[in-house]
């Protein structure tokens, strides 16, 4: 029998909900990511020792912050005997000065915005940004992150060590960026969160459970950012996009783990709560009247979410939205998606004509061939459709996706055989 101590449950909950906020505050005081992590861990150990006997304090997070700060003072004092660095002394003096001030829930500062901008600084590699954000803001352990990204734990740990070292060595500042750097830095933060979401959403290999946690974590980060950046429509746009995608997570796979397209999905299995939340955030974002790529992608997703059946989809609206998206982000991949929407709006032959101009740029891109195969099948060009499916299968790196394409290929071939 497992006895769950209520104090332990509170600690576990505090770790999950407050880690990022505690961590962010500690980095602010200590100006040192490693030290912040060490003393926060120590404070949690202390909580495990004290709370069961003495009871859970009125404000667990204030208690943890206070304890972690005291641990930091001890550590810096001990270190000082060996090498007294001016910067460390300054930190120590400041910590000692603040020791008397008791932090309460009301005065508890929220420094997470600084933390997210530092962790997502473009001076760090993309993978380092992702790992660091999940570790510091999300409070995921190294083991959890490694498992979610299907990486050896040592690799992930190394990545974190190097990132933290670089922050220190290059003196990447702990602050919210200046206005002239704002857009670039914000887009880096949003990209990191979306990357975390997509890692959980698209990849179907490996333990799917840990993957789902990544989606949940990305949504939590998106909610945090939307709260902290209320005037930034793209933050809310990204959150809306993630919620709308996530509403279809269950419906995307059949009973055997096979992939289902929007057309094949059982729309009753879509999560209505997620859809409502997504549309609410999208409306908030759009009301600020500064459209951006995430808002438009969310708007496209919302058109699908609003359609009761695939046949009811407002393809005209979707085509317009893709045109708008292309204006902001001229990429052939967006043109490809626009061509698919076009094929449902004006017919497969029109879609194929739209695809023609993309051949040179996208002939090494699996979705291009898959989309083309589908349109060829729809216009009855079976032989060409089969060839296109084969090209798509060759370029696919994902087993679930390959299975799906092979099923489509067999269907097309079967239909060709009958006629």
């Amino acid at each position: 029998m497992v006895i769950v101590d209520p104090a332990q449950a509170v600690i576990a909950q505090t770790v999950k909900h407050e880690w990022g906020r505690l961590y962010a505050s500690l980095v602010k005081y200590l100006n040192d990511f490693d030290l912040a992590e060490e003393v926060l861990q120590e404070a949690l150990v202390a909580a495990l020792e004290h709370w069961p006997g003495e009871g859970v304090p009125a404000s667990p997070r204030a208690w943890l912050l206070q304890t972690a700060r005291r641990k930091a003072i001890d550590r810096i004092r001990r270190r000082r005997n060996f090498a007294a660095k001016a910067a460390e002394l300054e930190v120590l003096l400041e910590l000692e000065r603040q020791e008397g001030e008791m932090t309460t829930d009301d005065t508890f500062p929220d420094e997470r915005l600084k933390l997210v901008f530092t962790c997502c600084h473009p001076a760090l590699g993309e993978q380092a940004r992702v790992a660091l954000t999940l570790r510091t803001l999300g409070g995921l352990t190294t083991t959890e992150i490694a498992r979610a990204f299907l990486l050896p734990e040592t690799t992930l740990a190394q990545r974190l060590v190097r990132a933290k070292r670089k922050i220190k060595a290059a003196n990447i500042p702990y602050k919210v960026p200046d206005p002239d750097q704002w857009q670039e830095r914000l887009s880096s933060v949003l990209a990191v969160i979306y990357l975390i979401f997509n890692e959980g959403y698209t990849a179907t290999q490996g333990g799917s459970l840990t993957r789902e946690e990544l989606c949940g974590e990305a949504i939590r980060l998106g909610q945090l950012l939307t709260r902290l950046l209320q005037g930034e429509p793209e933050a809310a746009g990204l959150l809306a996009l993630m919620l709308l995608h996530d509403s279809r997570r269950e419906a995307r796979v059949d009973g055997h783990g096979g992939y289902l397209t929007l057309e094949q999905q059982d729309r009753d299995r879509w999560d209505r709560g997620r859809i409502r939340a997504g549309i609410t955030y999208l409306d908030t974002a759009l009301s600020l009247r500064r459209p951006g790529p995430y808002q438009i992608q969310a708007a496209i997703s919302a058109v699908h979410a609003r359609a009761a059946a695939f046949a009811d989809t407002d393809w005209h609206e979707i085509t317009l939205l893709y045109d708008k998206l292309y204006e902001l982000q001229p990429s052939p991949v967006i043109k490809l998606n626009a061509a698919v929407a076009h094929s449902f709006h004006r017919g497969a032959a029109a879609g194929l004509r739209a695809l023609e101009q993309l051949q040179t740029e996208l002939h090494r891109y699996q979705p291009y061939h898959a989309a083309r195969a589908d349109m060829l099948k729809r216009v009855g060009a079976t032989e060409a459709a089969i060839e296109a499916y084969k090209s798509a299968i060759q370029l696919s790196s994902n087993q679930v996706e390959r299975d799906y394409l092979e099923r489509q290929l067999r269907k097309a071939a079967g239909r060709g055989g009958q006629s």
């Binding site: 600084h121 001076a123 290059a170 003196n171 990447i172 500042p173 960026p177 750097q181």
Partner: protein, 122 residues
């Protein structure tokens, strides 16, 4: 903290400029140096001769070989560098953005671990 701002540019571009163009570019460099000297952040400014003058000293297993030419043949070569004293990386990025370029080029920022700059004062 000191940062080195390493300027990489396509080989031969500087030499291909007219005297007037060279002068205009040097003027912009001069302005940056003036600006940072006033701010008290200027450390050093170094312009290298073309990479055709480069000599590579290779040390392997105790054996030293000297060869003609730069360490690696790339389209872009190290053309020169600045050293600035900056509070944070952001300031170094700001200076990097102010470095004038011939058409296009890259600036690599490297935090300096140790320096003894007497050699640059000659």
């Amino acid at each position: 903290m000191h940062y080195a701002l390493l300027i990489y540019q396509a080989e031969g571009l500087w030499e291909a400029l007219s005297a007037a163009e060279q002068e205009a570019l040097l003027g912009k460099h001069g302005a940056l140096q003036e600006h940072t000297k006033q701010q008290g952040t200027f450390g050093a400014a170094v312009k290298l001769t073309p990479s055709a003058t480069a000599i590579t000293v290779n040390k392997e297993g105790g054996k030293v070989t000297v060869t003609d030419g730069p360490f690696s043949e790339t389209k872009e070569v190290l053309a020169g560098f600045y050293v600035f004293q900056c509070d944070t990386l952001e300031q170094a990025i700001d200076y990097a953005e102010r470095i004038p370029h011939i058409q296009a080029g890259k600036v690599e920022i490297r935090p300096i671990a140790f320096s003894d700059s007497r050699a640059l004062l000659v």
